[in-house]
């Protein structure tokens, strides 16, 4: 049973959905504060290349190498978030263009490719990876065993993260302030909330998560580095935040749905289904367009819309 198509699809759907989930949660934090960051694709590639570089070059025990690698990826994402924050919050630059600039900077013909070549990472096989963990020996349970109890540590951490983000945004005072800043910065300012500080903090933390999401490719999914290896995952994560109506729980469901669709191709191929590989590769992109169209209808928008101030710089009118 555990080798059946459905179980295998769920298993690989969760594995492939995890980077999408982590990146989309990062973007959710940033967008909830009113900052749209279109730089995800570039930030994920930078996280992927930096994480891989550190894990390849660091000595010491595996757990340490992996932790430091993940930390480095988060650090790079944080720095890129800082750049975006400086451009859009302090200099009040257009958020769309700044995000695109981040993607071009980190992108497949930019800095991530540069670092991959300078570090000579292209031909190396990964030395350290996050292996799958058999939790409590339950990994062989029929059906749910491989899906829930035999995944890598990153998957379990992403579940904790989802719950933490949901709790933070909806159940804490700071989360309430965050939502106020994203919905109506003027009112938040009048309440004494430091709008710029909230926006910076969440763009930075969100950036760190996006960087780590990128590293989960090179440290868990495919232990090697190639230019542009995220293949649009950053953009799909951006779309996921919209599908999920800016709610962490829905982000998780959406990410796994996309994970399943992304892994449909090779799961069917090993079972002898002969269709053009390009068709399977195109499915996540097509699905993104279809779902975007569905959620952009007026009803959905009215019911749970985006943060009102998303994409709008806040300028306090001074006397």
């Amino acid at each position: 049973m555990n080798d059946g198509l459905v179980v295998q699809l769920l298993v690989s759907g969760i594995a492939f959905g995890t980077p999408l989930l982590i990146a989309a949660l990062g973007e959710l934090l940033s967008e909830r504060s009113g900052v749209l960051n279109l730089g995800l694709e570039g930030m994920m590639l930078m996280g992927a290349v930096c994480g891989f570089w550190v894990s390849q070059r660091m000595g010491g025990p595996e757990w340490l190498a992996l932790t430091v690698a993940l930390g480095a990826a988060g650090g790079v994402g944080l720095l890129m978030g800082l750049l975006h924050g400086f451009m859009t919050i302090t200099l009040r630059a257009n958020q769309i263009v700044s995000g695109l600039a981040l993607t071009i900077l980190g992108g497949s013909i930019g800095l991530s490719s540069y670092l991959g070549q300078v570090g000579g990472l292209g031909d190396e096989r990964g030395r350290h990876t996050f292996e799958k963990i058999d939790v409590l020996g339950l990994g062989d349970l029929p059906g749910i065993g491989p899906v829930l109890f035999h995944q890598s540590l990153i998957v379990y951490l992403s579940w904790v993260l989802t719950a933490a983000v949901a709790y933070y945004v909806f159940r804490t005072r700071a989360g309430q302030h965050l939502r106020a800043v994203g919905e109506d910065p003027r009112a938040a300012d009048a309440m004494g909330i430091d709008v710029a500080r909230y926006r910076y903090a969440h763009t930075l933390v969100g950036g760190a998560l996006v960087g780590m999401a990128g590293a989960s490719y090179t440290l868990a999914i495919t232990p090697n580095w190639s230019d542009g290896m995220t293949a649009g995952a950053g953009w799909i994560a951006l779309a996921l935040v919209i599908f999920a109506f800016w709610r962490p729980g829905f982000v998780l469901i959406g990410a796994y749905l996309f994970g399943v669709v992304s892994s449909l191709g090779f799961n069917l191929q090993v079972r002898g289904v002969d269709l053009p590989p390009e068709l399977f590769s195109a499915l996540p992109y097509l699905l993104t367009v279809v779902v975007l169209v569905v959620v952009s209808n007026a009803w959905a928008k009215h019911r749970f819309g985006a943060p009102d101030a998303l994409g709008v710089p806040y300028v306090r009118e001074e006397a």
């Binding site: 200099l91 009040r92 071009i104 800095l111 230019d227 649009g232 975007l292 001074e318």
Partner: protein
């Protein structure tokens, strides 16, 4: 006595800033990139000198630069038009692919009937291919309010895969299956030599037809934006959709028109890639070049002015060309893309000076204007 930096909104942007800001931005970007080069063990001055030589020093280098600038000019114009009116068409990349697919298909079909037929047919096919690929996100945006940034991007990936499918995984009209080695190593059908686009040669400088077409398109777009009713409507709707609607402008239709023109111009870039250069549909060459994305940098550096795009395309084309020429161990790949992104950030940061004056307010005293923005 404390000093505070304040931004004061300008009522009017000084004319001189138009050309000055991009130059200052490029200079700033070169300084920042120099730090990166130093950190990774390269000598920035030598690297820049070699890039300048490879891009601009001889007639031959200039010819290559104009060739590299050709696709950037067209994708830059596509982005400049759309971004100027706040329609975020990031799909120049995919629209270029589809322009190349359609122009190559047309070239294979009618290439034998001579340049007088093939050239206009390929140009029209390229424009239609790009416009059609932009039409889908355009309609979705205009009538269903679907975010065009994400849909145009998804269509870039889908277009790229479609192109690969036509050459690598099908027996399509575009694929050459005539010889045994072409079956082993998939490749496209080469269009008839009589349908290769002619270049303009003067004292060793070769200018591809696509570049000349691009300059004409730049002039047309400039006139469109400045001197026509459509351009006026577009500018009004871009600055305030409410005002446009109140004045009875059909905003949805305007958005769609912009997408169609922008996609058509990007498609033209694809047609020129086939007609001027590769003479065959070549996914492996088109996709990593990322002309569509670089077009965004070209457009931003020109501050979305179509005539400025001609200049910035030549400049960034020179950089791209230098990147190709110098590729090797001591010239890391990705450097040119990184440099272009840093330029984009600097341009974006410099926009602050066109919208605001920087004022240093010293405690209690009168405000003192400072900096180059004064």
């Amino acid at each position: 006595m404390s000093t505070r930096v304040r931004f004061e909104r300008r009522l009017e942007t000084p004319r001189l800033l138009g050309p000055i800001l991009p130059v200052v931005s490029v200079a700033g970007a070169l300084v920042i990139a120099a730090i990166l080069l130093l950190l990774t063990g390269h000598d920035p001055l030598t690297t820049y000198k070699r890039m300048a030589e490879a891009g601009f020093s001889s007639t031959q280098a200039l010819s290559s630069t104009v060739a590299s600038a050709t696709p950037l000019l067209l994708t830059g114009l596509a982005a400049a038009l759309a971004f100027r009116v706040r329609v975020w068409n990031i799909g120049g990349e995919g629209q270029l692919y589809m322009g190349a697919v359609c122009a190559a298909g047309m070239g294979i079909a009618v290439g034998g009937s001579g340049l007088a037929v093939a050239l206009p047919a390929m140009i029209v096919a390229g424009i239609l291919g790009g416009a059609a690929w932009a039409a889908i996100p355009g309609v979705l945006r205009a009538y269903l309010n679907t975010n065009e940034i994400l849909t145009t991007l998804m269509f870039n990936y889908i277009g790229g895969l479609l192109m690969y499918y036509l050459i690598f995984d099908s027996h399509s009209f575009w694929r050459d299956v005539s010889s045994p080695e072409a079956k082993l190593f998939p490749q496209g059908k080469v269009i008839d030599a009589s349908a290769f686009w002619p270049g303009f040669t003067g004292s060793e400088l070769v200018v591809p037809l696509g570049f000349v077409v691009g300059v004409v398109v730049a002039a047309l777009l400039f006139v469109l934006m400045r001197h026509t009713r459509l351009g006026f409507d577009l500018r009004v709707v871009a600055d305030s959709p409410e005002v446009g609607r109140y004045a009875g402008m059909r905003t949805r239709r305007l958005v769609l028109i912009v997408m169609l023109i922008s996609g058509g111009v990007a498609g033209l870039a694809g047609a020129s890639q086939v007609g001027d250069f590769s003479h065959v549909l070549e996914p492996v060459g088109l996709q990593p070049a990322a002309y569509g994305y670089t077009g965004i940098v070209v457009a931003a550096l020109a501050r979305f002015n179509p005539l400025g795009v001609v200049v910035s395309a030549l400049f960034l084309g020179g950089m791209t060309n230098a990147g190709f020429a110098l590729q090797g161990a001591d010239f890391p790949q990705g450097l040119v893309g990184t440099l272009q992104a840093i330029i984009l950030f600097c341009v974006l940061a410099s926009e602050l000076f066109s919208r605001y004056r920087i004022v240093l307010r010293t405690g209690g005293g009168a405000p003192v204007a400072a900096g180059r923005a004064a």
